[in-house]
């Protein structure tokens, strides 16, 4: 969980480019992932996240630029790299009628030091599905199996590509817990997602990717602080003097009034505290009070001018 940059870099991507025919999938991407960190590539579909990740995995060769993983070249040393990484691919499938245990057993046979497959299935909540065919698993169970396959070789780096896309909220939360578990085991994780909530909950640091370029990199908190420093308080009061008092709170940017409801926007970490102090000092009685904190979604909107879902 070290994002301070003091730990050793495990992945270094420097100015990679990749095009498919006339389409530029990745036009300039650079980032570094440190040991034990969960790093997210976030951006809309088609931003170049998956291509970037596949270049790091050694599945694709970048047209330009340099990638280094665990000190190795993912293309030249692909087989060495494959033994030390675990991969979950976006929208991958297995043979329809392969049984869960057979997939785990096959994967385990491919690596020099696999972990215990039964124990892994147990940890991922798939023990009672050992004999089920892949085609009969639910979406969440399939993803858990893919996580099991990605962890079977006790990898140092785990790649998770759009891990929870298409899952219901409950399965999604269960998968998030599993990813936290992976980090607690000291593994480095590189993941892609277009879900800002997922990135905020899981990632130590994220790179925002749009049109094949990295726009900014930082921890979710840093990014929010850097690009969306304003805080919003929404409250309801019948006090006639409220508007004036609230406008006097230091670093207030705007006070919007709709009937009895006020929306107050201001800058800085202490802004909410200062609004509360103002209410207390002026004895303003409120019937509703909530804060709206900006999140990565707002950062994305600010940086790109459009929502990630557009």
């Amino acid at each position: 969980m070290d994002a301070s940059g003091t730990s050793r870099p495990v992945i270094q991507v420097s100015r990679i480019r990749k095009r498919y025919g006339s389409t530029v999938a990745v036009s300039e991407v650079s980032f570094t992932v440190n040991e034990g960190e969960v790093f997210g590539l976030i951006g809309p579909n088609g931003a170049g996240k998956t291509t970037t990740m596949e270049c790091v995995e050694g599945v694709r060769r970048p047209d330009e630029g340099k990638v280094s993983i665990l000190g190795l070249d993912p293309i030249r040393d692909v087989y060495q790299v494959q033994n030390r990484i675990g991969v979950q691919l976006q929208q991958a499938q297995l043979q329809k009628r392969i049984k869960v245990w057979e997939a785990v057993d096959l994967w385990a046979s491919l690596y020099p030091k696999p972990v215990d497959g039964n124990q892994l299935l147990e940890q991922l909540g798939l023990a009672d599905k050992r004999n089920a065919w892949f085609m009969n698993l639910s979406g969440g169970q399939k993803q858990r199996l893919f996580i099991a396959l990605a962890l079977i070789n006790d990898p140092e780096v785990v790649f998770l590509d759009e891990l929870t896309t298409g899952l219901d909220p409950q399965s999604r939360r269960a998968i998030w817990d599993l990813v936290r578990g992976i980090r607690e085991r000291g593994k480095t994780v590189l993941l892609t997602t277009h879900l800002m909530e997922e990135a905020e909950r899981l990632c130590d640091r994220v790179a925002i990717v749009e049109h094949g370029k990295v726009i900014d990199i930082g921890s979710p908190k840093e990014l929010v602080g850097r690009h969306c420093p304003s805080r919003t308080v929404i409250l309801a009061t019948e006090n006639a003097l409220a508007e004036e008092s609230l406008g006097a709170v230091p670093r207030t940017e705007s006070v919007l009034r709709q009937g009895f409801q006020f929306t107050i926007q201001g800058q800085g970490e202490d802004f909410v505290t200062e609004v509360i102090q103002c209410l207390s000092e002026n004895r303003i009685r409120v019937t509703e009070f909530r804060t709206v904190m900006p999140n990565l979604e707002d950062v994305f909107l600010k940086l790109t001018g459009h929502s990630i879902r557009d």
Binding site: L89, A92, Q95, I98, L110
Partner: protein, 249 residues
């Protein structure tokens, strides 16, 4: 290099047999065809009826073997395109499995099932076979495996070019089945019009049929080295072509 080959092959055989239609079409159908035709034709086999005896001894086994072989190739085309479309090939490739190991496993699966089907046919059809005649089953099996192996390379090329899994079966059938008409199975190649003879000589199935017929008649391998060489050439050419155009995703 071969890590995972046997495990993957065995796994793919099991998975294939779990697909009821696939298992029926590839393994049981040829056996049923052989038994049904044998029941009808077997009654006519009398010491004097040379045509019927020849049909039972050579024609029918070769015909059924060609069926076994082509349905194996067709099933390979379908499976590879489904695996590609579903991202299964890509998923397997992101493991230490070498790409050629994955493809070799599929070839081994088809060859094993070809041998299994032939064995089942031999067991089920034994009692219909003309009495007091020897059938060189082992040599015939080897000949069929060489033929299937060779034609599988064409299957890989077809699997490389079909756009989606949905087209795999019809395109594969459209390329493979017309060969049956000209390969000498029904009309000897020498009896075909000259232009069609040229076409027939370009078809790998023609050499497969010639080899299978020769071996089932008890002719020597030496007499058919040309057929074997032609089948190996087909294998070399089509394997080289498919390694150039094969797509994993």
């Amino acid at each position: 290099m071969l890590r995972g080959l046997w495990k993957l092959t065995w796994l793919e055989i099991k998975i294939f047999l779990r697909e009821p239609l696939g298992a029926f079409g590839s393994v049981l159908l040829p056996v049923i065809v052989f038994v049904v035709i044998s029941r009808f034709a077997g009654n006519r086999v009398t010491p004097g009826n040379v045509a019927a005896t020849g049909f039972m001894r050579v024609g029918l086994p070769v015909f059924v073997s060609v069926l076994i072989s082509l349905s194996g190739v067709l099933s390979l085309v379908t499976i590879i395109s489904i695996y590609r479309e579903g991202g299964i090939l890509k998923r397997l490739r992101a493991t230490p499995l070498r790409p050629h190991t994955i493809l070799a496993a599929h070839v081994l699966v088809k060859l094993s099932l070809t041998a299994l089907t032939l064995a089942l046919t031999a067991v089920a059809g034994k009692r219909y076979f003309p009495a007091h005649t020897h059938f060189p089953l082992i040599g015939f099996t080897v000949a069929l495996l060489i033929s299937t192996w060779s034609i599988l390379s064409i299957g890989f090329l077809i699997a490389s070019i079909v756009p989606t899994a949905r087209f795999a079966q019809p395109i594969g059938a459209a390329i493979l089945y017309p060969m049956i008409g000209l390969c000498g199975l029904f009309t000897p190649v020498k009896a075909l019009p000259p232009a069609l003879q040229v076409v027939a000589r370009a078809l790998p199935l023609t050499y497969a049929v010639s080899l299978l017929e020769g071996i089932s008649k008890g002719e020597s391998w030496l007499a058919h080295w040309g057929d074997v060489a032609a089948l190996l050439c087909v294998f070399a050419i089509f394997t080289a072509l498919s390694t150039r155009v094969f797509r994993w995703e």
